[in-house]
Symmetry: C2
Subunit: 250 residues, 2 copies
DNA sequence: ACCTGAACACCGTTCAAGT
DNA sequence: ACCTGAACACCGTTCAAGT
């Protein structure tokens, strides 16, 4: 199944004549396409080098490191998620951000695992996203320390849910594993877990930890919408607390 | 720096005499210790085999797969987080769960990345945790579809935040990377990002995406506490909505 | 049942050398 | 500046063979 060194186009060393030189951009695109098609587990520097008809060292000349390439890929996926400013109230703006982010991740679900890890520790800052969230929360009345706390909550709520919704299943024998987990879920002892047992029909394969499919095959649409609402309701309560504290101390 | 095949104790094949046979348990402990000491990037089947003074194949005889071992490790870390039932109200119980979970992760920050990925798609179900959350949410008045939604929100909020707070920095030249990111953060263009610029002193190295240290060196204590409060406030608002809808339709 | 010893098919990264 | 060709030091997993 695996290809080896580039046989199709045995070119010679040096910069190609046609101006068809490789670029960070093109490499990132190829990597994203490959990850979309075969998953993050199948990703490797050598694989995408082969894909591009080039030696592994060539990729390294453009990209420096595997980690940097994956960060680039993650940034690409998140590039268009920030909603435009100004037209929406802060609650609607944040809700829109959540939804656009999920839409983007759903188009590239295999990249989801990178978001928490790579976007958070990222060289290519999505500054518009940060600015947008801060602007929305400022409009909500947050400032200083509460602003920081509300911001961290928003980012964690958004990326956290998506990371988990699309977290990959065991790579190997998914079939057997799913069957075993389904079995295990349905043989939970009712006496020790009465609430779980009672609601199992509602929860099975739709609740975190009780799933054997991920968001690619069983999307958690209503849970995500509810997650948005809960987050925004919580933020509004926080804003009220802040306003209260300010007025009572004046 | 790296060790090779087990030289210290060149034993012969077969089950060891002293009853000191290897076990899944002992392997998981060794793996956890190694990950705590050197990070998840330094983890490998061969490494922990060497650590235990055996051949790689021996580890595979007990553990089947690398992925399974890491799932075991993640489960070990999460083993003791579920608070006892009955003594607390549902809000306090959930808050306690969040705090105990963070305490556990702080003792093994390098496993954080596994939580979202491994706990969610896990063979060894932490059924007490699931049962506990469901019991708390039932006490809050949730049932049926809303129960599912509230549950998913709780799990995502808890694990999502922790995954991000302790998400690892670039493995290679952390020093240079941190310096570059700090530089980049402080040269953000004020005209394009007025809100960000204004609050940068508050946010730098303490807000997601604007950090160059992770939770191990710069813990986000107050943000996490606020995250708990926002989540619970949001859940209470959700419970009120549900109650309202039920009474208005009766 | 539990482990050795060796092999297979991969990795990321580096580096001299070419053009 | 951009790429080849080859090497280095690793991987996870499998498998016959030992005890």
């Amino acid at each position: 199944m695996k290809k080896k060194a580039p046989e199709p186009r045995p070119r010679s060393a040096g910069r190609p004549a046609g101006g068809a030189a490789l670029s960070k951009q093109r490499i990132a695109e190829a990597a994203l396409a490959h990850i979309d098609a075969f998953g993050l587990g199948a990703f490797s520097m050598r694989e995408i080098a082969a894909q591009l008809g080039v030696y592994p060292a060539t990729v390294h000349w453009h990209v420096s490191t595997r980690e940097a390439l994956l960060a680039e890929v993650a940034a690409t996926v998140m590039a268009q998620v920030t909603p435009p400013k100004g037209t929406l109230g802060w609650q609607a703006w944040i809700a829109e951000l959540f939804r656009r982010c999920r839409t983007a991740v759903r188009q590239h679900p295999n990249v989801a695992q990178l978001l928490g890890a790579q976007l958070v520790s990222n060289g290519s800052l999505p500054t518009e996203l940060v600015e947008g969230v801060l602007a929305a929360l400022t409009e909500a009345g947050f400032d200083g320390e509460p602003l920081l706390e509300a911001y961290n909550c928003v980012i964690a709520a958004m990326l956290g849910f998506l990371t988990m919704e699309f977290s990959p299943l065991p790579a190997d024998n998914t079939q057997a594993w799913a069957e075993e987990l389904r079995e295990r879920v349905h043989t939970i002892r009712p006496l020790d877990h009465p609430v779980l047992t009672r609601h199992l029909p509602q929860l099975a394969n739709r609740a975190f930890i009780l799933r054997w499919d991920n968001g690619t095959t069983v999307p958690l649409d209503s849970s995500f919408e509810r997650h948005i609402q809960i987050t925004i309701d919580g933020l509004e309560a926080f804003a009220r607390r802040v306003a209260q504290a300010a007025s009572s101390s004046s």
